[in-house]
Each structure stands twice: as structure tokens, then as C-alpha cells.
């Protein structure tokens, strides 16, 4: 992709659930081959934004372009073809509990017939190793795993098919600090090695600085700040700095208190 067209471009994205306006005109450009971190308070609509891009939620207004193509106007077939190149780690893992871990991990490869069932186990073991899980985990059911392990299996499933664009909804929440750093490293590696575009949601600032080239802050349904992830905590934007430093006093708190 050329450096000029953003991989993903959101314009005026709006979504309300009943009376509740969750997104109110989100504008955002996400550069190809870079890591973007989306910040924002709990319930500010970060997951909803990602689900709109994935086509899981239909926005009320606005446009979503991927590689310059308006995906809301796409035919179903084109949309499915596009989804083949996108990976997603859901906030709660969303593993299929009727399938063993190895089948979860290789689900997309199997669905696209890029791998046979006989080979899927070995492939799963390989991907599981990348997220720090032993091959024997592959034979367990998702319900037999701890929350952090489920997260890592979800991560393995998201990257197994080597997607072009990957969304990580809180990839390191629920992991111990060391494993969190390992996963961050993995995300950075995926972006570098595959040339993928990674969009992550995180509440962990250390993690945000590691995995993000760019960062954006979502507040009250709008993007209130975008900039380099490296300067988080020292951006000059009172809201973002308060959020990044996790301070009680500041503009965000004042608004919530009303």
C-alpha cells in the first residue's frame, strides 16, 4: 500500500443503541503496517468502533474505508473476502467451547481450506508455542483453561491465519506482567514480520507505548486526540495525560462527576 492512503479511514462514524449515543462522529486514520492504540475510558465505545470496522455492528452514519474502499457499500462476497484477511482477538476471548483448543486455533485456516485437519494439530502447536503455551494445551477444551490462557489462545487464533489487519481488544488484560510483555513483543513482531496493521485497545500504558506507533483517544463518542504513542503521558493534552497517568483529578473526572 502507498504511504498516503491510510489502511483504515473512519469518517463521521456514529452509532447509538436506543437513546444511548455511543459513537458520535468518529474520525480516524490508521496507517498501513503500523500499530495503532485506541485509548478511552470503560464504556467509551472502543469495542463498538472495532466491531463496526469488522462489519459486526452496522453504524448509523459515517463511512469506513479499508484500502480506500468503502466497506459499507461492498457486496457481501467482497466483504467476506476482506474478512479473510482480517484477524480479531475478542475482549473475552470468544473461544468456541464446543471445540478443542487446537481446532479453535486453526479454525480460520481450516475454514479457508489452507490446511488439512491432519496437519492442523501441528500447526496449532506451532502457533500456541508463539503465545507461550505448550502443545498439550491443544487437546484441552477452552473451559479447562484459565482466563489468561484463554486470552492467549484467542490471540493464537487471531494471528494463525497471518492476517493483513489485526484487531486486539485488550490483548494483555488478565495476564501477568511478564506474559503481558511477551504478548506485546509478539504483537510488535506480527506487525514487523507480516507487515500487518495492528489496531489495539488497551488500558495499560506501558503496553500501549510498546505496541503502538500511533495512539488515539476516544472520549464521549469522538476522537479527542491522536498522536505518537511514545509521548503518552506527556502529550500536552490534559485529558490524554490524565488518562495515561491514571490521575484522579483532571478534565475527565470533572465531566464524569456531573
Amino acid at each position: 500500500m502507498s504511504g498516503d492512503t491510510p489502511k483504515i479511514r473512519l469518517r463521521g462514524l456514529s452509532k447509538a443503541f436506543g437513546e444511548k449515543r455511543v459513537l458520535d462522529g468518529v474520525d480516524l486514520d490508521i496507517r498501513a503496517g503500523h500499530g495503532m492504540v485506541i485509548l478511552g475510558g470503560s464504556g467509551s465505545g472502543k469495542s463498538v468502533t472495532i466491531k463496526c470496522i469488522l462489519g459486526l455492528i452496522t453504524p448509523d452514519a459515517g463511512t469506513i474505508e479499508i484500502d480506500g474502499q468503502d466497506i459499507l457499500a461492498m457486496s457481501r462476497r467482497d466483504r467476506e473476502a476482506l474478512n479473510d484477511r482480517i484477524g480479531m482477538l475478542f475482549q473475552n476471548g470468544a473461544l468456541f467451547d464446543s471445540l478443542p483448543v487446537w481446532e479453535n486455533v486453526c479454525f480460520k485456516l481450516l475454514a479457508q481450506k489452507r490446511i488439512t485437519r491432519a496437519k492442523a494439530r501441528d500447526k496449532a502447536a506451532e502457533v500456541l508455542a508463539q503465545v507461550g503455551l505448550a502443545a498439550s494445551v491443544g487437546d484441552l477444551a477452552p473451559s479447562e483453561l484459565s482466563g489468561g490462557m484463554q486470552k492467549r489462545v484467542g490471540l493464537a487464533r487471531a494471528i494463525a491465519a497471518q492476517p493483513d489487519i489485526i484487531f486486539f481488544d485488550e490483548p494483555t488484560t488478565g495476564l501477568d506482567p511478564i506474559m503481558g510483555a511477551v504478548i506485546d513483543g509478539l504483537i510488535v513482531d506480527v506487525v514487523k514480520r507480516l507487515g500487518a496493521t495492528a489496531v489495539s485497545i488497551t488500558h495499560d500504558m506501558a503496553s500501549a507505548r510498546r505496541i503502538g506507533d500511533d495512539a488515539a483517544m476516544l472520549h464521549r463518542g469522538k476522537i479527542v486526540w491522536t498522536g505518537s504513542a511514545a509521548v503518552l503521558g506527556d502529550t500536552g493534552n490534559a485529558m490524554v495525560d490524565q488518562f495515561a497517568r491514571g490521575e484522579r483529578e483532571g478534565p475527565i473526572q470533572m465531566e464524569l462527576r456531573r
Binding site: N83, M88, F90, N92, L95, F96, D97, A111, R157
Partner: protein, 271 residues
């Protein structure tokens, strides 16, 4: 809409029940329309590859094989009770000989399909709604979409087909066991001669009765699996939502089974 001229408030009060009724009718129409679209989409994937054979077979076993105990027991007891009741009834007219006929006719035409389907509605409707509903509220259905898999094709189509094929099989079993239940009571308690009872049964057994029962079964199988999938697929709001979806699936499919039973009987036997 409010009219803002004097006296309009009272007019509003009169119109309100009408408006409420209109809203109810509209929302009912919307639901039926959405359900029909859902069913059509589910069926359309039958002819659009890939078809998930593995999932289809698993559901077929789940419905046909694991429902056998429940369906068998209810069918046997129904046949037994039927023989007993019709005997006491017919004894008043000295028509005890008609017991075998009544049993075979009611079992194959009505009770076999309806009772087996109601039992399966409880088992399968509930389990489909709970499983698919849980998948919905834990984002697993969304995850399917992101993993290059159409959730309707993956979850709904194999279940619909399995329901349509498994139910006639179960009803055939129910027919046989129901008649055997009647025979058991007839010969052990009511003093019928075994061969005579069976002969009377075979004489009165008509292909049309059995076939109509099996057609009903296929329709009921569709209704059960459709309601289970639909309620699960559209469930919202965590564990409570899934619970509600499960209840709705069972209640709605039970009512629909009885309603369709009437309609199909009317179609088959009304002259």
C-alpha cells in the same frame, strides 16, 4: 402522533388503544417476517456450498439417537393409557373390539407425531436455544464471522436439516412402540388374544395414516429446530437473556406444533 388542537387529548385517549393494537400487530408482523427471512436464509445455505457434514451428523445423532429413550418411554405409556381408556369407553357400547383400531389410528395419525415432537421440543429446542444463545452473548457468533465462516451456514443449516430428517425417524419408532404399548395392555390386562389384536391392528393400519404422521413429524422437526436456533441467535443480555430465549423456544415451538398439527390434519383428512 399528537394532534395539538383543543379536545385533542380526549381524541388521543380514544385513539390510543387503536394505536397500541396497531403497534402490537405491526411488531407481530415484523417478527413473523424476520423469522421467515431467517428460515429462508438457513435453507438457502443447503444449496450453497460448503455444507458442514460433520456438524450435521453430530446434530442428527443428538436429535435422533439421544431422544430415543424419552420418545420411546412416552410412546409406550401413551399407547398403554390409550388402550386402557378406550376399552373403558367402548365397553359401554359393547364395542371393546375397536380398541386395537383406535390405538393404531390415534397413534399413527396424532399422538405419535405430536407427543414425540413435544418431547423433542423440550430437549432439542431448549438445548439449541441455550447453546446458540450462549454463543451469541459471548461473541462466539461474531467470532465465526471474523474466522471466514458464515454463522447461519455453520450453526443453523445443519441443525434444520437434522431436525427435518430425525423427527420422522423418531415418530416411526414412536408409532411402533405406541402400538406395542396398546398391545401389551390389551393382551395382559384386557383379555385380548395376541394374534387377534395384531391382526386387527394390521387390518386398520393405513399407509396414509403413517405417511401423514411422518410428514407432520418433518414439519414439526423443522419448527422445533427453527425456533431453537432463532431464539438463541437473537438472544441478548447475558445469562438471563439466554434463559429467556430457552423458555421462548420451548413454549413457542410447542404451541406451533399444536397449531401446525391442526392445519396439517385439516389438509390431509378434511374432505
Amino acid at each position: 402522533m399528537r394532534v395539538s388542537i383543543g379536545g385533542a387529548e380526549r381524541l388521543d385517549l380514544v385513539l390510543n388503544p387503536v394505536a397500541a393494537l396497531g403497534r402490537a400487530v405491526l411488531s407481530a408482523c415484523r417478527t413473523v417476517g424476520a423469522l421467515a427471512l431467517f428460515a429462508l436464509e438457513g435453507l438457502s445455505h443447503l444449496v450453497r456450498p460448503p455444507f458442514y457434514w460433520r456438524l450435521f451428523l453430530r446434530q442428527l445423532v443428538e436429535i435422533a439417537y439421544f431422544s430415543l429413550p424419552v420418545v420411546s418411554l412416552t410412546a409406550i405409556f401413551t399407547g398403554m393409557v390409550l388402550a386402557l381408556q378406550s376399552y373403558t369407553g367402548f365397553a359401554r357400547f359393547n364395542a371393546e373390539g375397536a380398541v386395537a383400531n383406535v390405538v393404531v389410528l390415534s397413534i399413527t395419525r396424532e399422538l405419535g407425531p405430536v407427543i414425540a415432537s413435544l418431547m423433542v421440543a423440550g430437549r432439542i429446542g431448549a438445548s439449541f436455544a441455550a447453546e446458540i444463545g450462549t454463543m451469541r452473548v459471548t461473541d462466539q457468533i461474531d467470532a465465526l464471522t471474523t474466522l471466514s465462516t458464515n454463522p447461519m451456514k455453520y450453526l443453523v443449516t445443519p441443525r434444520l436439516l437434522a431436525g427435518v430428517l430425525a423427527m420422522p425417524f423418531l415418530v416411526l419408532v414412536a408409532d411402533i412402540l405406541g402400538v406395542m404399548g396398546g398391545w401389551l395392555i390389551g393382551t395382559t390386562k384386557l383379555g385380548f388374544n395376541s394374534a387377534g389384536y395384531l391382526k386387527a391392528t394390521m387390518d386398520f393400519l393405513q399407509v396414509m395414516d403413517v405417511v401423514s404422521g411422518l410428514v407432520k413429524a418433518a414439519v414439526f422437526g423443522f419448527v422445533i429446530t427453527l425456533m431453537g436456533c432463532w431464539c438463541g441467535y437473537n438472544s441478548r443480555g447475558g445469562a438471563q437473556g439466554v434463559g429467556a430465549a430457552t423458555t421462548t423456544a420451548v413454549v413457542a415451538s410447542s404451541i406451533l406444533i399444536l397449531a401446525f398439527d391442526y392445519i396439517l390434519t385439516e389438509m390431509f383428512f378434511a374432505r
